[in-house]
Subunit: 215 residues, 2 copies
């Protein structure tokens, strides 16, 4: 069986856990890390270190989204914590990341993509929902050579229905180096403790009864 | 009515015709041109000139696909003219291009994307088929904020069922500057006349009873 996988690695705790989960399932993982102009570019260094700690190859893909459309990309915009889809939503971000992963997987003859999306303790981003992944998988099958040849690249979202605390507990079992991860959106030297990403992380560690090594 | 559109512009005759078609329908067009390491990078200059001739704004998006997987990207591979999906197929290329277009359209509050894909006189690329566009549209709706808000960005493929000769006849009516377009994959100073793209172009002009201004 072909056990090569492409893993989308942001540097946060979800994607780090996903990488270690895929490794635990016996996959040889190739990590894609995106430098897309994000405010919290520190996560790129985190992602690199996580890939290295997992002894996996990685590629940093630099992309330019000059139209921005998100407070993560437009530093003049404040990170708002209102209800609904937050200001940190980046238009079509996961669709872009998945399309690169699909290209990479097809070129490398890998039949698996792993992404750490989840819909429980999350920000309400539409591109984290299971129905999106089902629809994207269908488009991926119809739009690729491997799909025409009656095979497919499967997109795995092992965390999609887990709470942040369950993700952290799973990660602990898998020895995920959480001290290397980075979640904060604010892009400062230490976590702001206020943004959605910091709040979900803190809640997760608290509920898991574990100490966050970054705090 | 919002009449802004994002148009994917390669520099070939299909995308040039699509741009002029969208303009003819009253859209204010923003063109995305991709520099993705293609052998025939000359098409980027063509695309730029076509956007300028149409008086449209454009953005050149540089992307890196280090895994290549195509004779268009890997200059050591020969361009083969065998049956089936040819060696020039780039894994997930149109999925990547569409995902950027979607991000751009959502950020710019445009509700239309135009792409010059067609399935008649073409190379058999899976990401040119109508069923792929239907599936991608569904994924796009589910994976974006605009989709969650019960609206959608529509993907228009006005050439999808046209022969190359019909496309050229339409382009003639729309005054598409075909002298500015570039189709050849080989990336030399003048069209090779042998690659799929040259052959479909020649066949199209011949059947339309028109002279190709490049020949």
């Amino acid at each position: 069986m072909n056990k090569k996988a492409v893993v989308l690695l942001s540097g946060g705790l979800d994607s780090a856990t996903t990488l270690y989960f895929a490794k635990g399932k016996g996959y040889s993982c190739y990590c894609l890390i995106f430098d897309y102009g994000q405010r919290h570019s520190r996560e790129i260094q985190s992602a690199k270190r996580i890939a290295q700690s997992a002894k996996c190859k990685y590629e940093i893909i630099k992309i330019n989204l000059p139209w921005k459309g998100s407070s993560l990309l437009d530093f003049k915009k404040a990170i708002r914590h209102s209800s609904g889809i937050p200001s940190t939503y980046v238009p079509a971000r996961n669709i872009i990341f998945l399309s690169f992963a699909l290209s990479c997987a097809e070129a490398m003859r890998s039949k698996a993509i792993f992404i750490g999306a989840n819909t429980v303790d999350y920000s309400g981003y539409p591109d984290c929902r299971p129905e999106f992944y089902a629809a994207f998988s269908k488009a991926a099958k119809l739009g690729t050579k491997i799909g025409v040849n009656k095979s497919a690249i499967e997109i795995f979202t092992p965390l999609i229905n887990k709470t942040k605390s369950d993700i952290i507990k799973l990660g602990k079992k898998l020895d995920v180096p959480y001290q290397l991860t980075w979640s904060c959106y604010a892009g400062k030297g230490s976590p702001c403790g206020k943004c959605d990403s910091c709040r979900f992380r803190a809640k997760g560690f608290k509920e898991a009864g574990l100490r966050d090594p970054l705090c």
